[in-house]
């Protein structure tokens, strides 16, 4: 990894060295979110942080913004250690984070007000920013009157008005529809290339590979569990970039491959697909409908059991953040395997795709009991008990020795919904117990 880290030079705007972030989750081990992360942001570049959810990229961004204090390592902005948000840094949020009770103008003025700038000067600068970002005419509107795209423009104007040197963006376009997101990206890139924004560099978090390739000069790929910088890719394509350009496609495919490679860089560092081992494996909540749907899609024409992930994601209109948990759950259940940017159905997966309802449930129950230790564990306990009843609390407590309360809850819920579908065991929500009998 060291060869990937760029050595510091004087011109670095942001310098991150050996940053670690761990959380005390009450269990035996501390949850490691970021592990020894290094990164340098230099003037005049857009750098993307790309990774799956839970790879700590948002945590890193918030550490740089001074919103979170990392548990280890150093972060400097223009050579000065970051404690609290530096004056030269502003942030754009995924959820827009606008104050619903302030008008567009007041929202934009907020950052200036915090810096104690007088009302007249504030208004002048806010109107300039609003002008720049294409919000003229909306000054007195409240956020609830605006569409998502317009709201994010307010978010951008609010960040730009304080004249930051570095703009941090946390998945800025992921809450928008495809068309709006593309318009905003293009507008932002235009402003950037024309040098009309008062910023020197942009650091953005994204889980959209195409977005990263479209906008960034450099992309850092994060591995998850724990979060590390697994690879750095330079993107030297000239702007404006064309998504259909073969060189563009090749880069997208390359990143997909790196993120799914069997022994690749983005593979979780500790072996398993999901954090934790045995019954303490942290499971994502993925609906059985999505699992079945993906298997059907891969089994059908034109993929016939093996699909390249980028076109599959595009045709299913899924982002990688949505697609990966589904694909990885299939991998966990041995319905499919992931490698080199491809998903390939295993025999069980093919039989599932062709089977009728009963056959599917039987197959699912088998795979669940064989490959998900927690499901097998709950079933075993229920089988052993005379009344075939066990409180769910007991299993959550068991998991909480290894993970946070929240994750334990999520894992138990995930197993519950899969087991309900497979009819491996039942769950009574009111009494919070697992049983072997389905309600009559």
């Amino acid at each position: 990894m060291n060869n990937l880290a760029i050595t510091t030079n004087e011109t670095a705007l942001i310098d991150v060295k050996g940053v670690c972030q761990t959380y005390d989750n009450g269990g035996a081990e501390r949850l490691v979110v970021l592990d020894d992360v290094a990164l340098t942001l230099r003037p005049s570049e857009i750098v993307g942080l790309l990774g799956r959810s839970g790879s700590g990229k948002s945590t890193l961004l918030r550490s740089i913004a001074g919103l979170i204090k990392p548990t280890g390592g150093t972060i400097t902005f223009e050579g000065v250690p970051v404690t609290g948000t530096p004056d030269g840094v502003a942030m754009v949020f995924q959820s827009f984070a606008l104050f619903p009770w302030l008008t567009v103008l007041q929202n934009v003025e907020l950052g200036l007000e915090a810096r104690g700038i007088a009302p007249t000067e504030r208004r002048k600068r806010a109107l300039e920013a609003i002008d720049l970002i294409g919000l003229d005419g909306f000054e007195s509107a409240y956020p609830k009157e605006l569409s998502g795209g317009m709201r994010q423009r307010v978010g951008l104007a609010r960040a730009l008005v304080v004249h930051p040197k570095v703009l941090l963006m946390d998945e800025p376009f992921s809450a928008l529809d495809v068309l709006t997101a593309e318009t905003l990206r293009t507008d932002l890139l235009d402003l950037w290339s024309e040098g009309r924004m008062p910023i020197k560099s942009i650091l953005m978090v994204t889980h959209n590979i195409e977005e990263a390739v479209l906008m960034c000069d450099r992309v850092l790929i994060f591995s998850s569990n724990p979060g590390r910088v697994a690879a750095e890719i330079r993107i030297d394509l000239p702007q404006p970039r064309d998504r259909l350009d073969p060189a563009f496609r090749a880069l997208v495919d390359d990143i997909y491959a790196r993120m799914t490679a069997r022994k690749g860089v983005a593979e979780p560092a500790r072996g398993g697909i999901f954090p934790g081992t045995g019954i303490a494996m942290m499971l994502p909540r993925v609906s059985t409908n999505l699992l079945a749907g993906l298997m059907e899609a891969v089994a059908a024409e034109p993929y016939r059991g093996q699909a390249d992930l980028p076109p599959l994601a595009a045709s299913l209109q899924l982002e990688i953040d949505d697609l990966f948990p589904i694909a990885e759950t299939l991998q966990l259940l041995h319905f499919a395997e992931l490698a080199e940017g491809d998903i390939r159905l295993k025999p069980a997966g093919k039989r599932f795709a062709e089977g009728d309802v009963d056959e599917r449930k039987r197959l699912f129950a088998m795979q669940l009991a064989t490959h998900v230790p927690l499901a097998a564990h709950i079933r075993r306990v229920l089988d052993e008990r005379a009344g075939h009843v066990a409180p769910a609390r007991r299993f959550r407590d068991e998991l909480e020795d290894h993970m946070s309360e929240e994750n334990a809850e999520q894992t138990v819920r995930a197993v519950t919904s899969w087991a309900r579908y497979a009819e491996l065991f039942a769950y009574d929500e009111a009494a919070d117990i697992f049983t072997l009998e389905n309600p009559a």
Partner: protein, 584 residues
């Protein structure tokens, strides 16, 4: 607060308007005259409050209708003072609880108990205390009355504000910290606006309850001292004493007008203004309207006055008090603060233990176990009344509320009426009931009981109406598609749908009924006194006799009953409703 629309299009419009800008328009005249009148009344009332105590003796309350407006004004001012005090208390205490873990551990349980303490039982001490604080001035009695209203209002407002502060949206919190808003700016820009809708609703609910207590606390006898503050409550007490039926009627009328004015001039405009603080990001279909608010917005002169105010406000927003802190602490800091947390908790526990021993000792030295048994017996009798009455009120008002709520046109008319009735202090109506009981010779043990719920039943009604109005139309359609009829419809569709609302209403009604028992279980008409056996009459009699140990005992027992009732019945129901029956 009125801001000029700051967009440039309206600026050019503003210059066009500027030519005849100074000439007031019709809205100006209306608004200004209302405002001026309010100011004059305020000044007059405040001056009267500072009057010496002799005035209370030399100018006793009389039943002259010409004096009624003056009394009404004095009563209103007391309400106003109490609500201001409650707001200040809310801002300080709730903020403290939300920001300091240690303060939170004391404040929140304390508020929970204080909510259950019967306010009227307090009057004995507070009157004595405040009279001592302001000897020879009316201020003492005024403060006692205001304090009584305050204790009926402050707790739920504080809870609401505290809960809002704890649930400030994460992303807005990050923006505020990212821009480095000072604690002061953060409070006014983020926390107070976010908490505003909940706080305003709770303030309205508190006001509703407050009228009851202002009436009950104006004329009060403690031992040999009788204090009669000029106000509708004292008017009423005098009318009862003199058996003046017409005067009671005047009081009812004055009270109705007063509540109506308060609602129109104060709360409607605030609710209409506060609509923008609701944090849903979608434009709402129905905007709360208020003609006063519209009037104020249309006025030109008022706007001109508003400009310097807005300027001052903006200057105030630039004040920087304290830079925000990073959220994450290091491990050593955490360990250290854990240790001091334990020490703090131990300190609190010792304090609480000492308090309990002291109270027990006080009661024990003055009273015997038989007194405790008597209080508990009364408590059980009152408990029985409360349960039966809430059950009866529910059986009556739930079907009616659902019927109304499902008909938007009717609901639109009835809902304000129900809220008005909830605000109307039922104790003003007590004389009619007492007269009837005296005349017919009915058993007070049974027939005094309905008075407890006279004012509080409306909480059930308007909450059920709100629930039925908010019932999703797709679920209604499903029910009608499947032709669900009568009982099945009630059991599977409507009752679960309104349940969370019903629980809220019934909870409020129960709390109010316990409080009302102190006034309702012991009533009089002239020299005729009728009394029902219960904890309420126990406290009322002890208060009258100035028997402090018994008052303390009575309050303690009632607080215990209410707390247990809430914990064992309402809270589980609330949790159940939140978990299983939420529709959004």
């Amino acid at each position: 607060m009125v801001f000029l629309p700051p967009n440039r299009a309206s600026l050019s419009e503003a210059t066009r308007l500027a030519r005849n800008r100074i000439v007031p328009n019709i809205h100006d005249i209306v608004a200004l005259s209302i405002m001026a009148a309010l100011l004059v009344l305020l000044a007059h009332g405040a001056a009267a409050m500072r009057g010496s105590a002799e005035l209370l003796v030399s100018q006793p309350v009389t039943l002259d209708p010409a004096n009624l407006p003056e009394y009404a004004l004095r009563t209103t001012l007391r309400m106003f003072a109490a609500i201001i005090a409650s707001l200040v208390f809310t801002f300080i205490v709730a903020t403290l609880a939300a920001k300091s873990r240690r303060a939170e551990k004391v404040i929140i349980p304390a508020l929970d108990i204080l909510q259950s303490v019967p306010v009227l039982g307090f009057l004995t001490f507070t009157v004595t205390f405040f009279m001592g604080l302001f000897p020879g001035s009316q201020m003492g009695a005024e403060c006692a009355a205001i304090f009584a209203i305050f204790t009926s209002q402050a707790w739920n407002m504080t809870f609401s504000f505290y809960q809002s502060l704890r649930t400030v949206p994460h992303d807005l919190d990050e923006v505020s910290r990212g821009f480095g808003l000072s604690a002061w700016q953060r409070f006014w820009r983020l926390e107070a606006p976010f908490a505003a809708p909940g706080l305003i609703w709770n303030t309205m609910m508190s006001m509703s309850g407050g009228w009851f207590f202002v009436v009950a606390s104006e004329a009060i006898t403690v031992g040999h001292t009788t204090v009669e503050l000029p106000g509708i409550g004292s008017w009423l007490a005098l009318a009862i004493d003199k058996k003046d039926f017409v005067a009671v009627g005047w009081a009812v009328l004055a009270m109705g007008v007063l509540i109506l004015i308060y609602d129109r001039l104060l709360f409607r405009p605030i609710v209409a203004w506060a609509d923008k603080f609701r944090s849903e990001q979608t434009a709402s279909q129905e905007k709360p309207r208020s003609w006063v608010y519209d009037l104020l917005r249309r006025t030109r002169l008022v706007k001109t006055i508003g400009v310097p105010l807005a300027w001052g406000w903006q200057r105030l927003m630039l004040v920087r008090l304290g830079r925000p802190q990073l959220k994450v602490q290091t491990a050593e800091q955490q360990n250290l603060s854990r240790l001091s947390d334990r020490l703090w908790l131990a300190f609190i526990a010792i304090l609480a233990g000492a308090g309990a021993i002291f109270t027990a000792h006080y009661i024990h030295s003055e009273l015997g176990w038989s007194d405790v048994a008597q209080a508990f017996g009364g408590g059980l009798a009152t408990l029985l009344r409360v349960i039966v009455l809430i059950a009866i009120a529910s059986v009556i008002w739930v079907p009616i509320g659902v019927w109304i709520g499902l008909r938007p046109k009717v609901a639109e008319r009835v809902q304000p009426l129900a809220q008005f009735l909830a605000a109307f202090p039922a104790n003003v109506l007590f004389p009619f009931a007492v007269l009837a009981i005296v005349a017919t010779g009915a058993s007070p043990n049974i027939w005094l009981s309905p008075l407890m719920i006279l004012g509080t039943q409306w909480y059930i009604l308007f909450n059920v109406i709100a629930g039925a109005s908010a019932f999703p139309s797709d679920l209604k359609e499903v029910a009608s598609v499947f032709k669900l009829r009568s009982w099945s419809w009630w059991r599977n569709v409507m009752l679960p749908g309104i349940f969370p609302y019903y629980v809220t209403g019934a909870l409020t009604a129960t709390g109010g009924s316990w409080n009302a028992s102190i006034v309702a279980e012991l009533a009089s008409w002239g020299n005729t006194r009728i009394e029902a056996y219960g904890l309420g009459s126990y406290i009322a009699k002890a208060t009258e006799a100035g028997d402090f140990p018994r008052v303390v005992l009575g309050i303690a027992v009632m607080s215990l009953f209410v707390t247990l009732f809430n914990r064992l019945l309402w809270r589980p129901l609330y949790v159940f409703a939140e978990r299983r029956l939420r529709l959004d």
